[in-house]
């Protein structure tokens, strides 16, 4: 198993190199000059040129890549052009809100979606199944910002149960943090729950038609035991795969939710950096995402062993 993990990690190195080259090229090919944005609207060309020189933006691209790649090898992702702060520090500042949001969302998603998917499969083609699947289609179809604004309107502006916006760090207390991420987590969870409920239902339907389920029924086991202990465990692999990918998507792709709820997470850091042509931050964040995706994929693969003993070999 250890050899397998090491092999997977080594295989990630060429992926990293390719990602680095690709992202560096893409970011620098995008029109727009960070020095111009940094100097402000009223700046004269001399001011802009001075900033370009200071940031080495006047150097040939290959030299700029060399400087960046050399530093990245030493875990130095450079400094933000926009805020002059180290990229690693910016990522570190943004990790907590994003991870907390992703974790709470994932918890809510699993808590909602897996039981719904199991029940839908159990009552396949009945009205409960159709009701759950209608919810799934709705959750998947309504844009997340619409759900977000509706939640804000009812639960924050009208009822004042939750804050409209902002993130309270864990240092303020767990309950305060959870209170601040409740609405964004629900908004996101509704979308992901729809997806996972559908996948769970499909996988459960397959498991319920297998011989081992028939055997379990023949042995006289109760419905709960059949559904949860036998069928759900067998249906776990596709479900856990979707959950894992969902987590990676949540960490990197919750820009709209982070914007609507004003959560200073990594998604917003990325989009802000792109609009400001903050090259080191874009490059650094995408490298970070690549590492995270590789890690999550590895964890998903390793978790298969929990559900399917044949994978252990």
């Amino acid at each position: 198993m250890l050899g397998y993990v090491l092999g997977r990690l080594l295989a990630a190195i060429p992926i990293f190199i390719l990602v680095a080259i690709f992202i560096f090229s893409l970011v620098h090919l995008t029109p727009g000059d960070p020095a111009v944005l940094l100097a402000g609207d009223n700046a004269n060309p001399q001011q802009v040129e001075k900033i370009r020189e200071r940031l080495h933006l006047d150097e040939p691209l290959i030299v700029q890549f060399g400087i960046w790649a050399g530093n990245a090898l030493q875990f130095d992702l450079g400094e933000s052009i926009y805020s002059n702060k180290p990229v690693t520090q910016l990522i570190a500042q943004r990790i907590e809100p994003t991870f907390v949001l992703a974790a709470v969302t994932l918890f809510l998603t699993v808590a909602i979606a897996v039981p719904l998917g199991v029940i839908a499969a159990w009552r396949a083609n009945g009205w409960i199944d159709r009701g759950i699947m209608a919810f799934a289609v709705l959750g998947f179809s309504v844009p997340v910002f619409v759900i977000a604004y509706l939640l804000v309107y009812f639960f924050a502006v009208s009822l004042r149960w939750f804050p409209v916006q902002g993130y309270k760090p864990l240092s303020n207390g767990l309950l305060t943090t959870l209170h601040s991420v409740t609405l964004p987590s629900i908004a996101l969870a509704l979308v992901f729950a729809a997806l996972i409920a559908r996948v769970t239902r499909a996988a459960m339907l397959e498991a319920l038609s297998e011989n081992f389920t028939r055997t379990a029924r023949a042995k006289g086991l109760g419905t709960f035991r059949i559904l949860v202990i036998h069928a759900l465990k067998s249906a776990g692999i596709p479900v856990i795969t979707v959950i894992g990918i969902g987590f990676a998507t949540l960490v990197g792709g919750v820009v709209v939710t982070e914007s609507v709820f004003n959560i200073p997470g990594i998604g917003r850091l990325t989009v802000d950096a792109i609009t400001r042509r903050d090259y080191p931050v874009v490059q650094g964040v995408i490298l970070f995402f690549s590492a995270l995706l590789i890690l999550i994929n590895l964890l998903i693969d390793l978790s298969y062993a929990l559900f399917d003993p044949r994978v252990k070999g």
Binding site: A43, Q93, R94, S171, T176, N262, R268
Partner: protein, 527 residues
Amino acid sequence: MRRLKTIVLSAAIGAAMLAGTVSASAEEVLRLRLNGDINTLDPISTTNFTIRNAAYLMYDTLFALDSNYEVQPQMAEGYTLSDDGRVYTITLRDGLMFHDGSPVTGADVVASIQRWGKVDGLGKILFSKLQSIEAPDDKTVVLTMNEPWGQVIPALGKISSNVPVIMPASQAANDPSEAVANPIGSGPYKLLPDEWVPGSIAVFEKFGDYVPRDEPADMAAGGKVAHFDRVELVYIPDTATAIDALIAGEIDWIEEVPADMLAFFEGADSAKPIAARQSGNSMQLVVNHLNPPFDDPKIRHALQWAVEQKPFLQAAYGNATDRYLECAAVFFCDTPYATDANTERVLNRDVDKAKALLEEAGYDGTPVVLMHVTDIPAHDAYYSVLKPMLEEAGFVVDDQPSDWATVATRRASKEPVADGGWNLFFTGWGFVDQSNPMTNVYVAGDCDNGWFGWACSEELQELRKQFAEAEDPEVKKALAEKMQILTHDLVSYVPLGQSFPSQGIATNLEGFIESPVPFFWEVQRTQ
């Protein structure tokens, strides 16, 4: 036993976490949402207005503008001018202190003014006329000019970017293109660097050692009394969220509420929108004089006849007619230098005249490249109005959509259109910069050294020089009028009206100062 330990430990951790939810103290906090994010607090390294506005919290200036647009001493106790009109001796007032506890000295002032003079337009002119600037002692600064120049004190009391703020000499030694990393000011609020997260929040606390002037606050001048323990500049990118947060009492003020979101405030008693009449903006269509077809003055005049202001203003402000004004005055309407001289082509649309001028000029159908900004809603709306207007008048239009970042870079290109150049783009300027002939970029006529568009007129350059040296208000007014006539003939730009943005404020706040730059001293909570 082990299990019991775990339970006790978990309970202790939980209690510790929950304890953090209890507010540390009942501090008075003012939470503000400016239009942009705070990436730096060095208003010399950038001309960005958000940074300028935030910097006013923590920095102070030697002189400052009052509500009559007259310059008053601020950090200065006063000044004397020598009989020959060349030597300004400025005395600093008592009690000036930087946030690190060190006193503000003449040497700090000299270094700060020198740094500002390297980047600011007006500052550069001042330094081109300056023989020397020195601090003979800790309380005195002496500026000796080569010849009398009436703009020395107005330049030092400049209210908008770049504002000549005073910082410690050690920080003023920094290259002005490089933002000071840990900025130290001497203003009423002090930055808390540890709580500053770019892209999220910048936090300031009241500076206990700040000594306000005795006079009442009067725009940027007078006593700056801080009434809050903390000021938090919260970056909320989504405006709808910001308005909801204001109504829910999570923030206290929004710098700008778009016209189509004013309805959000209906029925809310905790917050309201107000028209910030002094913070007027104007929208302009900037014309590139270097590229065909607008290198021909007749075709530029055809452009003036081809457009009119109202449809643009309606596109941006809808039915909120109290939020805009049709205005073709180069120095803004309702200002000391406002005039309607030579505005006929600008205010009236006449497609036939535009077509006739195009024919006379032999317009060959060269496409007009619009650098269409799509990520700023007001700009996007303006381009949508402009294209059919130009086409109806006979122009061929090449509408090229992109984001603002791309346009902000591309507008600096003096190349032909085929090599990445351009013909037209929209931009906005604030009242305070445009109403002053010394800072209005469109009346400079500076050719290659000028602002984007590179309109060229030696006559305008000469008029500006005369304006800088004039003392008599009537003479200045006459010169400003001549500048407007020439500018509209030259077509440095086409003005597209004046607007008064709405601010959103919590109804339990009072003491807001009417000013083109938002200031937050004097603001206090009523309940």
